[in-house]
Symmetry: C2
Subunit: 357 residues, 2 copies
Amino acid sequence: MSAPTAPGAAIGILGGGQLGRMLAHAAEQLGFDVHIYTDEEDSPAARVAARAVVADYHDHAALAAFARDVAVVTTEFENVPADAAAALIAAGAVVHPNPRALAIAQDRLEEKRFFAANGLTPAPFAPVETLDELRAALALIGCPAILKTRRLGYDGRGQARLESDRALEYAFAAFNGAPLILEGFCRFEREVSIIAARAADGAFAAYDLCENEHRGGVLARTNVPARCDPAIHVEAAAEARRLMDALDYVGVLTIEFFLMPGGTLIANEMAPRVHNSGHWTIEAALTSQFEQHIRAIAGWPLGATARLCDAEMENLIGEDAARWAALAADPTARLHLYGKREARAGRKMGHVTRLKR
Amino acid sequence: MSAPTAPGAAIGILGGGQLGRMLAHAAEQLGFDVHIYTDEEDSPAARVAARAVVADYHDHAALAAFARDVAVVTTEFENVPADAAAALIAAGAVVHPNPRALAIAQDRLEEKRFFAANGLTPAPFAPVETLDELRAALALIGCPAILKTRRLGYDGRGQARLESDRALEYAFAAFNGAPLILEGFCRFEREVSIIAARAADGAFAAYDLCENEHRGGVLARTNVPARCDPAIHVEAAAEARRLMDALDYVGVLTIEFFLMPGGTLIANEMAPRVHNSGHWTIEAALTSQFEQHIRAIAGWPLGATARLCDAEMENLIGEDAARWAALAADPTARLHLYGKREARAGRKMGHVTRLKR
């Protein structure tokens, strides 16, 4: 255990998106400076930070220079190249989450194996590298099933749903030889997520379970608390704690689950970071997920995660953001816009939180 | 009425202190970029903004260049030189609050006259430019009384308390010939403040009355709601509305009152800006005073000012900020640090809000 990072120090964040922007605001509220490292010009996070470096994630010299000026480095996306994290650590940086957590979260197969090894229940899965393996896996797992790339999938990208064992060669060919995983389809009752934090001394705190609604593979809406037995919340938090302890994890981590009709939690995926389904914590929890992550990586005590009221978070995706004037006039809507220059289809442009009291 | 400023535009702020920093965060949450203009290097607000200009407030060329890139300019301190506001307007900028509001707030004598002209009750006052005028004013107003500079006083600076009519020449000489005002001392029951907002279309909204405790002339603590008859709140809000209507004011304005034992509100001073006694609104009101000000100056509808719970705000002044580690471990404390490099005596370094539920 090292001493906590004092206010006035700089926190480094890899990534320039909205999660980085909201992390920056939380860090700044606590008196920190924020330095952003991103490969994107004019990014949402860079525009609210004291310093921004625009460079490639493989530029080890730029990474080393970045590391020199900050007390700790964190990430706002899980697909940070492994060599970037290694270069930062070689330059003497403290990096949270640690490279092992990033590596597991970057590979769906490793992630599923890690879940199973720590007593979580993933959907049935099998690695697929050849068409024959795909046929064998589908025979074992059954239809429907989801064929996914092991790496670099998010928001429903890199996925194909298989309804039968016909035309498998076409489905397989569409992935261009990328390493794949076949997952059994879960006829879930609800999708839920848990957002939890772990401090370097092992202290742990979780927020109330979130209930999520996806549309086209992208999170559309989150409600808290999730409609389920309180025992489910306790189980989800216990599972998060096991994963984080196993990783010696520091910071906020999110696990997305399928809640099955009998009450079983199927661990779908983990995000080693703050998460879209936790945005409600800005207004409706004593400590936001963003402040909580900064507290953990700065070696501060974790904040209280108590929920102040029920809440609903709605994502503003693509052209949804054009509704800003109507939302600004809605007294129930707490509006957040991310400062993205272009409203592309499927792009997360902002969100709205509504408190239910 | 012009169209509201769309997200993605830049908001310009004159001043680089903590109020500018918190205004910047609120503007950024709504999707705006923030440009800071300040004469201070490495200021708290500049470090959280997309762009910062460090230049003199009398540098008209720099002001004109600043004005070109922003949709609207606002100020985080009232002592903006009159020629700075004029230069911005000459360069085509929309400036809120308007120069008349700034001019009145910069001169205690004009302010008192403006209060009286709009039906508010100031303490007894008289202008003082000579020792003879001081003697005459003191004979009229009585002791104790407060001798103040008309201009550039804040946080208790530029003031002397007169307990008797002896040694007046020494008290007078200490002000070096600056224009003065003598004010009768009010044996108040409480100090309270109202924070109110007005939109360009005349829409008005006020927060609940705040009860303030000063120490050494500096705000130490604010509690909401103020302990007083609800009719007092209604009266304070009505007085704020009259002032703002008279000024065709756009944005947030604060009035500090003395609440007298009989229930009379003595208008002490006004601040044409967000105010230290309104920091509790970040956590405990539906819309923070900072977001409210940005909404007003951007031509957006005012947000809801409903208070979510009782709250207490404590300022961290000078060495108070050294308590950050203890405050970080206090689950009832919502900690805000302003990123000031040096903890000088009397300097506002941060604040803590506690929700009372």
